[in-house]
Amino acid sequence: MAQALLFALCLVSVAQAQICHPHEPNAYKVRLSIKTALGDKAYNWNENEQYLFRATIAFAMRQYLKNEIFRASNVLTCNETQRVSFWFVVTSPENPSVTIPENDVAEAIRLNRHRINNAFLLSDKTLQFIGIPPTLSPPVESSLPVWLILFGVVLGLVVIGIIFMIVTGIRQRKSKRLKKPVHEEDPEEKLERGVIENGIACQTIEEAEGIKNGAYEHDDDKLTQL
């Protein structure tokens, strides 16, 4: 009896070895980076963690293929390394020597990736399934772009500022114009005033034409001849 059991076990393990090996068509490689993810709080990878992994994959398969009852024993792992990385393959519950096609396995894992990651306190980057790219979550986008709101605020303030400045400028000029009539001078007085004043004197008009430069005439230096 014991011999028969031992023989059966040998057969199973041999069969397992044949089903699960690297680069087998329906097998996937898994790579975990526990120390990178958790630092000091990293746990050691041992048989129990391995069991949890097999159970989670079985859970994912159950969720995906709803009519089949997968067990942890249906998930076979092999070639474990120090990295920690290993290969796994999923066998069908009805027929343990048949493996589930890789597309089904990939889809099951993709749909339940979040749950699998959380079981190990890891993320898409630190729990990698080679050949199953993670579905990256899009960046958070608010309904109204933030920059447009800020732009609108600044634009509003600037426009208000401009209108305010123009209006006060016009008002200032109006009040200056009202005060003007008191200071009207005779044209003769203007002529007698010096060059520095900004009056409408003939002197100033001549200066603007470039014919005479009052500012530079106070010396007897030679003028720049035309």
């Binding site: 120390k35 993670p134 400028g169 530079y216």
Partner: protein, 593 residues
């Protein structure tokens, strides 16, 4: 009537000082000087830089302030009064300032865009966007980097060549309109409004630089950048390009020849001590460049170290994954010995991944020299996104760029508006607000060409060709006119009338001999550079490769460049000739007078 108004003036000398500092200290101090410093041997570049400051920077600055303060007019009327044939110099200044205004405000538009986007968590340029089936990142972003992608695709939406205009980008257009509205708000009342704005635009950048300095030097890896900058490579001093670049940088950094300094000084009381101002402002300008370099290099050092460490980590991960080694077995220290061991033990597998085992080199990271907008919008943003509290740093940085840009725009617009307001017809019938508004409006409309898909290529054309040669010619004519046409003796007497003493021998020697020689040298160098280069090329962004490629300018662009270069310069001879013709005409018909 407006004619009865006295010439507007600064409320106090501090406003004038701040206006000049605000104008001179601009984006070039932040993104061109550190580049030249890096290219020409770090700390050693300071030697030619400071020598050029003394030989040409300060004397030319003094000259422009003196002319402006003495004539109390904008550049056109000021040069006309120096000599009636030289009105063209003023007109050339106005034309160059106008060209500058058109393209400079686009930078402020970009700064606004980045500023508004800095309030998001996380920063939009920190991650690549996902591709359609969400399995990875967009190819264009993957091949280049997230900051480059954000700049070239999301900000500029750049086309692959200058011929392809790509349509107007509405986001950039509204930012440009905002930039012009802000400029208008600051200048619409002349010195009254400008004088107040410069209090902020002159001081805020220093505050930000100081905060950045404190943060920068405490960042990990900053010391690498600082060591790189301050280790002088004295052999660079033997390279003539170093001296030319130093002279060029001083020249353009001080903003000579645009007419802005003349405009600002014309609002001064006649006896304000511009000699002191000239020395102080040029020293502050150079000091700010050096200060900004220290900040930039400490940030560079941080970025280079960060990227270097990332590169090492990626290599370690690759080796661990390929050879299934336990985590933590390979570290940065034993990486080299591991590489040798793996290469010898598993040569086949190692060879397969050796192409990806990039040699991580800190020096090559530091050597990535970038100048211009790329420094601010690509390289700096990359550093900022890795700093803790990146939103605040980003907001501060772009606020600083805005202040620097607006400060310079105040001077650029003053250089156009002050001479226009000297024309009696304009100031009599057109109120100041309308004239200013018109200048802003026209510049904005023409500036819309920079908001198209190919806008950045046109921007580069303007940036490289619009002002360079013209300014050298303008300043050369200015200095020759004052020294040899007007006469140094007369000029001395005018200066004495203003500040109480004649300029001493240092100033006179510089004006009469040294500065003109330097300018002629720079002028000759640029001309020969343009001629020998032949057909000009430009860098175009290639989305499929994720990097810039060299392309030749089409004929239309080359013709446009030629027109641009010649436009301002031709004003000088044209105006001189027309004055000559007019005077001949008047001499022949004295009865008309």
């Amino acid at each position: 009537e407006d004619m009865e108004e006295d010439r507007p003036s600064w409320e106090n000398p501090l406003q004038f000082l701040f206006a000049c500092i605000s104008y001179a200290v601009g984006l070039g101090n932040v993104w061109r000087f550190p580049y030249y410093c890096q290219m020409h041997g770090g700390g050693g570049f300071l030697i030619p830089y400071l020598i050029m400051l003394i030989l040409e920077g300060m004397p030319l600055f003094y000259l422009e302030l003196a002319v402006g303060q003495h004539t109390r007019k904008g550049s056109i009327a000021a040069w006309k009064s120096i000599s009636p044939y030289l009105g063209g110099v003023g007109v050339a200044s106005v034309v160059v300032s106008f060209l500058l205004c058109i393209y400079y405000n686009v930078i402020i538009a970009w700064a606004f865009w980045y500023f508004f986007h800095s309030f998001q968590e996380p920063l939009p340029w920190s991650d690549c966007p996902l591709n359609i089936n969400r399995t990875g990142y967009l190819e264009e972003c993957e091949k280049s980097s997230s900051t480059q992608y954000f700049w070239y695709r999301e900000t500029l939406n750049i086309t692959t060549s200058i011929e392809d205009s790509g349509g107007v980008q509405w986001e950039q257009t509204v930012c440009l309109i905002l930039a012009w509205l802000v400029t208008y708000l600051c200048i619409l009342r002349g010195t009254e409004s400008t004088g107040k704005v410069v209090y902020v635009t002159a001081t805020l950048p220093y505050l930000v630089l100081l905060i950045y300095l404190v943060r920068g030097v405490t960042l990990p890896g900053a010391i690498n950048g600082l060591k790189y900058m301050f280790t002088p490579k004295l052999e660079e001093l033997a390279n003539p390009k170093t001296w030319i670049n130093a002279a060029t940088q001083i020249f353009f950094s001080l903003g000579l020849g645009f007419g802005s300094l003349i405009a600002f000084a014309s609002y001064n009381p006649p006896n304000s001590n511009f000699e002191k101002h000239a020395i102080v402002i040029s020293l502050i300008n150079s000091g700010t460049s050096i200060f900004a370099s220290i900040v930039t290099f400490s940030i560079y050092g941080f970025k280079a170290t960060f990227n270097y460490e990332n590169c090492i980590d990626r290599t370690i991960l690759l080796l661990m994954d390929t050879f299934d080694l336990a985590e933590g077995s390979i570290t940065a220290e034993n990486l080299e010995s591991w590489e040798i061991y793996l290469n010898s033990t598993f040569p086949g597998e190692y060879a397969a991944v050796s192409s990806q085992v990039k040699v991580c080199d800190l020096q090559s990271e530091l050597n990535t020299a970038v100048e211009g907008p790329g420094l601010a919008f690509i390289v700096f943003t990359e550093a900022i996104k890795n700093m803790t509290g990146s939103q605040i740093w980003s907001v501060l940085y772009f606020a600083m760029l805005l202040m620097l840009g607006v400060g310079s725009m105040l001077g650029n617009t003053a250089a156009i508006i002050t001479p226009l307001r000297d024309i009696k017809l304009l100031s009599q019938y057109v109120p100041k607000e309308v004239l200013t508004g018109l200048v802003c409006f026209v510049s904005c409309i023409i500036g819309l060409m920079f908001t198209t898909g190919s806008g950045n290529y046109w921007f580069t054309i303007f940036d490289t060709y619009a002002a360079t040669l013209s300014l050298l010619l303008i300043v050369l004519v200015e200095i020759m006119a004052v020294c040899y046409i007007y006469g140094l003796r007369r000029f001395e007497k005018d200066v004495e009338a203003m500040i109480g003493h004649k300029p001493n021998w240092y100033w006179k020697i510089m004006w009469a001999f040294v500065s003109p020689v330097l300018i002629i040298g720079m002028f000759g160098f640029y001309i020969s550079d343009y001629i020998t280069k032949g057909a000009a090329t430009y860098q175009a962004w290639e989305p499929s490769l994720g990097r810039l490629v060299m392309k030749k300018y089409p004929v239309s662009a080359s013709v446009f460049i030629g027109i641009l270069v010649v436009t301002a310069m031709s004003c000088i001879p044209i105006a001189a000739i027309s004055t000559f013709i007019k005077s001949r005409f008047q001499k022949q018909e004295p009865s008309l007078k």
